[in-house]
Symmetry: C2
Subunit: 492 residues, 2 copies
């Protein structure tokens, strides 16, 4: 499927209008940027090159930017924003462009400011575990760099090979290690950021504690580039664990999954570092898309991947064995396997990490990211599946090509009550979308969940904020936005 | 020593002027508050009762408030602030009044809004570990409530018997468990707060992840009541550990302390929950003030208290034994003792937790709370001690009563690079103060530390912010303050 087939977001959503206050880009603007940026390769206006920056990887959103800028320093970012702010030119900051909600993609002709050329590690202190680096460093590169030095990045997610650490912070990414190492609001010690008027905020703290005035960096974590551009971060990185164990299980019901989760917290305690749920259908889709053999002899309605990380392999193995004995003995799990080495562990992880790609493999996927209290955690997937079956829109892989929907699937970080609901489709389709929204958001609101657990709002959910936030909060958010970005040029 | 001897802050600091824009409290105002508050006991204007709210517990600051209000509900807080904002009456929110920097004490005649009457637990979910409670709940009460339910509060500090959880969040308190459970920016899931104009922000989230728009609660964590009053919190509480071990050591140099710290992180890994440094002089002062026998046969230049918390006592004991063997065998520590039961553990903890009180015991204490990179961690205490010895102002307990200073001591959370420097004195004295400030702040700035690690700025450090924050950050802080509190009535 080529990019040509991705519709312009502006055409898919005709109700969304370009703000007429924003200026149109001129050749004089482009010339000016060529003047202020040190390298000619930092100014990209060639149509073929622009395409990748205008389209998101799930091929749902497509902007019409005529200009991408790739500054190399924080001063260049500052000069760009100062100019854009003066000229009323709207901008969209972009990291690795791995977002799932259209947050890093222009809607109209906004200028894309890519952080890809700011990709240096600035410093690392192996006593304190504090890393300072550019926003454009790729997550996996940062993690590899740290692993060579006995540490790990406190965040891990499927898109690690492409996503930028600055983007992770801007979107307050959750990911696979949150259960163990907590949210970025706790681990990020400081940010360097550029405000819309070009002001540079130098706040790359390397202190775990600094209560001197407001903790400004917190405002940038999860702001999705709406109040400024993060150009650098300092972050506290945990020690690499000496002992890491990975295991994969099959279970017959969601009630069994809940029992297993409580057991895992009891028996594995402080070494439990991941508890990932995948329903049976996700494993089928990954199996088909990847051609891999299932990890267990059978395929079950639910699968769980757990990981432990600790400092003492003997103790960790003893804890894991005790846990296995009890969940097998009490028939909480139907089957399971423990990785015997790093390669086997990576193979098991593929059955979880490969899901976003596998779901998008057959045309596209409607993606949702909810926080739901554990008792109702999986009911949403079941309700949604029933809704689509009733509508007669579903046919499995290799089935009836005229049906848009392949299935309704769910996976997620059980430890954080965070469910990823996906509807893999053969093609994006208004009828499917209308069945999903606002029905899903209303369902979540009734259960006091959040419509945006770890993915952020982006373009996809800008009109649905009120399902998870009350009017007072929204008014305060508007005030904060105006305080930082009075002209509203940032990610409009 | 009676409260009479505490000078008014306004007299001690004649350069600080009352803002003439603020109205003077009238009888009509008091009558209005009696009208809008449900209970007559919520309005306190009797001089003898006011004294406790006007004076801080280290007897350094004393305000002249004529009125204390103790609202019972968030609606009452809202009605109070709405009125004060309209009438230009300045207010100071107050929790347990255990602060060390004069942040909860009026300077002039500000109205004190005490949260003491809002002290209910609202709910607790023992599956997720999420507690929702009023801001005025005393930390120790919250912790006891949680312990009965198999959990603990993720924060612990010496003042737990008096301090309020709302005050802890407002000041972003650090304390004894940060090493293990991280900062409140990570564990607090939501706040209920009242803005200066009376608007109620209902944001008592119970979700670990909610990326729907800006994370507003972060702005209230550590804002010290300058943008609104926190009336309720929701917080993620960890499971109570099955196994807790406490040990106390004597060491001969700070280099040995550093070696021990690295060993502890290696050998104890994920179960290390506290690493507290106390210098020898702190232990002498506690010994004299409390009359207790030293925990070890000898007294050493440095003492360290460590705590481990884990899920498996057998594994934890094995880890601790291996650690003891190596630090004793390699002569890193000179002597040590491990608590054999809960009572012994509490006794050992007194030698750390009793220090603030012991230092204030002989008249008062100048208290500082710094973040300092580990290499220079203790050098500050040595430099400061030398400075006072040179000035001839020091004489130990039971020594020359004409000398104001008893000694210069240091203790702190080594795991967080957080040093508490204290100068216990027989009386507060301008000459002592002038030797301390700004010299201390300049020393910290040179080492890229923070002048306010976990205690906050309060009144004490309002003029010294620039030592830890650059002008851009300060300008943004001013903008944020204006956004939330345009009239500036909150904790002026």
């Amino acid at each position: 499927m080529s990019n040509k087939e991705v519709k312009f977001t502006a055409d898919s959503y005709p109700d969304v209008k370009r703000d007429p206050r924003f200026a149109q880009l001129t050749q004089a603007d482009i010339d000016h940027f060529k003047d202020i940026l040190s390298s000619p390769s930092s100014v990209i206006s060639d149509a073929s090159e622009l395409e990748g920056f205008n389209t998101d990887w799930i091929r749902k959103y497509r902007g019409q930017s005529k200009l991408v800028l790739k500054p190399k320093t924080v001063e260049e970012v500052s000069a760009i924003l100062k100019y854009c702010n003066e000229k009323y030119l709207a901008v969209v900051p972009q990291g690795g462009n791995t977002g799932l909600v259209g947050g890093s993609i222009p809607v109209f002709d906004e200028i894309v400011i890519s952080l890809a050329a700011m990709n240096s590690i600035r410093s690392f202190d192996d006593v304190s575990g504090i890393l300072i680096c550019d926003a454009g460093v790729i997550l996996e590169s940062a993690d590899s760099y740290l692993r060579e030095r006995g540490h790990i990045f406190p965040l891990d997610l499927g898109a690690k090979g492409s996503c930028h650490v600055g983007g992770n912070v801007s979107t307050n990414a959750g990911g696979l290690r949150l259960l163990r190492y907590g949210s970025l609001h706790g681990t990020v010690l400081g940010v360097e950021a550029v405000l819309p008027d070009g002001t540079i905020l130098h706040d790359l703290q390397t202190l775990r504690k600094n209560n001197t005035g407001f903790d400004l960096k917190q405002m940038f974590i999860g702001a999705e580039g709406t109040i400024g551009i993060i150009t650098g971060i300092s972050i506290l990185c945990p020690k690499k664990s000496n002992a890491v164990n990975t295991a994969y299980f099959g279970l017959n019901s969601f009630d069994k999954v809940k029992e297993m989760f409580i057991k895992a917290k009891e028996d594995l305690g402080e070494i439990l570092s991941a508890f990932e749920l995948m329903d049976g259908l996700t494993q089928d889709i990954f199996h088909k898309a990847s051609g891999r053999t299932y990890p267990l002899a059978d395929r079950y309605p639910f699968h769980v991947l757990i990981e432990t990380s600790g400092s003492n392999s003997e103790h960790d193995s003893a804890k894991l064995e005790a846990f296995l004995e009890s969940v097998m003995g009490e028939e909480i799990v139907a089957d399971g396997t423990v990785a015997q080495d790093e390669t086997q562990a990576q193979t098991l992880w593929r059955w979880r990490e490969g899901l976003p790609e596998a779901c998008a493999h057959y045309g596209g996927t409607y993606k949702y990211d909810f926080s739901i209290p554990l008792n109702d955690f999986y009911a949403l997937v079941e309700d949604c599946r029933e809704r689509f079956n009733k509508a007669g829109l579903v046919s499995p892989i290799d089935g009836d090509e005229s049906k848009p929907v392949i299935g309704v699937v769910g996976w997620g970080h059980m430890g954080d009550s965070n469910l990823h609901l996906n509807v893999p489709v053969r093609r994006y389709d208004k009828e499917v979308e209308n069945l999903l929204e606002p029905w899903l958001y209303e369902w979540i609101q009734k259960k006091n969940g959040s419509i945006s657990a770890e993915h952020g709002l982006g373009f996809a959910k800008r009109d649905y904020v009120q399902y998870s936030r009350d009017p007072t909060s929204l008014e305060i958010m508007r005030r904060v936005k105006r305080t930082f970005d009075p002209k509203g040029i940032m990610n409009p």
